[in-house]
Symmetry: C2
Amino acid sequence: MVTDCKHCPLRRRGFFEDMAPDELEKTQRFKSGELAVTPGTPILMEGSKAPQLYTALRGMGLRYKTLEDGRRQVVNFIFPGDFIGLQACMLDEMGHSVEATTHMTLCVFDRSDFYDFFRSNTKRAFDITWLAAIEEHFLGETLVTIGQREAVSSMAWAFIRLYQRGAALGLVQNGQMPLPYRQQDLADALGISLVHANKTIAKLRAHQLLNWSAGRLTIFDMEALAKVAQVEIEEPRRRPLI
Amino acid sequence: MVTDCKHCPLRRRGFFEDMAPDELEKTQRFKSGELAVTPGTPILMEGSKAPQLYTALRGMGLRYKTLEDGRRQVVNFIFPGDFIGLQACMLDEMGHSVEATTHMTLCVFDRSDFYDFFRSNTKRAFDITWLAAIEEHFLGETLVTIGQREAVSSMAWAFIRLYQRGAALGLVQNGQMPLPYRQQDLADALGISLVHANKTIAKLRAHQLLNWSAGRLTIFDMEALAKVAQVEIEEPRRRPLI
DNA sequence: CGAGGGTTTGATGATAGTCAAAGTGAGTGG
DNA sequence: CCACTCACTTTGACTATCATCAAACCCTCG
């Protein structure tokens, strides 16, 4: 019951770039299977040499790093279409762990086929580099956030980016999207404590800017939120799908 | 008076990977010239579509992003051998600004030749992706630092990484290396205020762990420093040179 | 010798962390 | 169907880390 790349439900969303027939076919051959995991399942571990790569097909997860004293930094939230494990592939070791937050389905690729895939088609190689670059770009933005913005501002920024990502994927309906994370996850992503995160969210809610409860996010006033966050509102750009 | 890739002074250091003759020759053809800049010169601007790429040949600089309110986040410190402008190339726009801290000499490449270069040799394309991946890896580590470590710990981490990078490049002599940045730069890199940065450095100095003055860094006790920073001591790995 | 960039220091206050406890709601088992 | 548990959220009280302000200091340079 493996999804055929030709009929990939993701590619139908306008968010992902179209693929030439031969790219599609090569990707199909690259794909070695599918993996379904339950919430909380670790998918990749920091420092491990994973033999496989994934693309998130359904469900959400997160990337994180942990410090020796147990502190955790959430590096990124994983949405459908995200490519997982490039670091293990290029650097031989994952720089962060990956874990499923909801039920997830992942397309599986064998690392041993990666170089062939990379070589087989310049466009695809370029796509992979593009993904690495956009990730670097995003991490840079996250860095400014954690380093320079204060909590309210950080929170606003995070919600805006999450919402935009959701919107691009067509997850937003009636101004609402599923956001199945815990406050602890957001807190760990922004480098603030759970308690402080909670109080900060409460503040945004009190100001009628947004609501996030029961795993659903609603944004009431994007303009005002953007002002709080000090960001330009811009659509995420279309991205390649591996 | 342009340095020939064949005799590139960087490649002689063991830190950079060897290059096959044809790679070397393609790189040479890719290189369109050299640029010498004085301290303080902006090299790339956030948001700009730079027509050129660079490799730092000599000198040091920094990458940073600025917020509307003027706050600055230093994303990374640029050392000889660093590749500059990949983001502009892949994403069409720089995600951060780049500025020279010391006098610098940069190898210049034309963006219009980039795709050809990328396509011409799979190994080189791979190298570029590798660089993007290692950068992503490093930014992840920075993220944990800013998000989870407290000031002393952050500082210790930063000095360790800078020192290791310097050591790999052969800049360390008698346990000392040049580190021509201001305390403000370090502060902006770690997301703390100048005053606090200063006091934190003073603390490390008082504990006899290191000294950083007059643009020179000395580390007295790497072990203890690593303990403060909560990091493993590991050599930076050899990297490709573009 | 004065100017200016960078560093250092002290005083004060705000932002955010920690601790502790209560509230909420979904899921489970008797 | 009703406790009961467990994971998560919410709130209050207290504290620490860190930011801001201001002034002095140090050094190089013209």
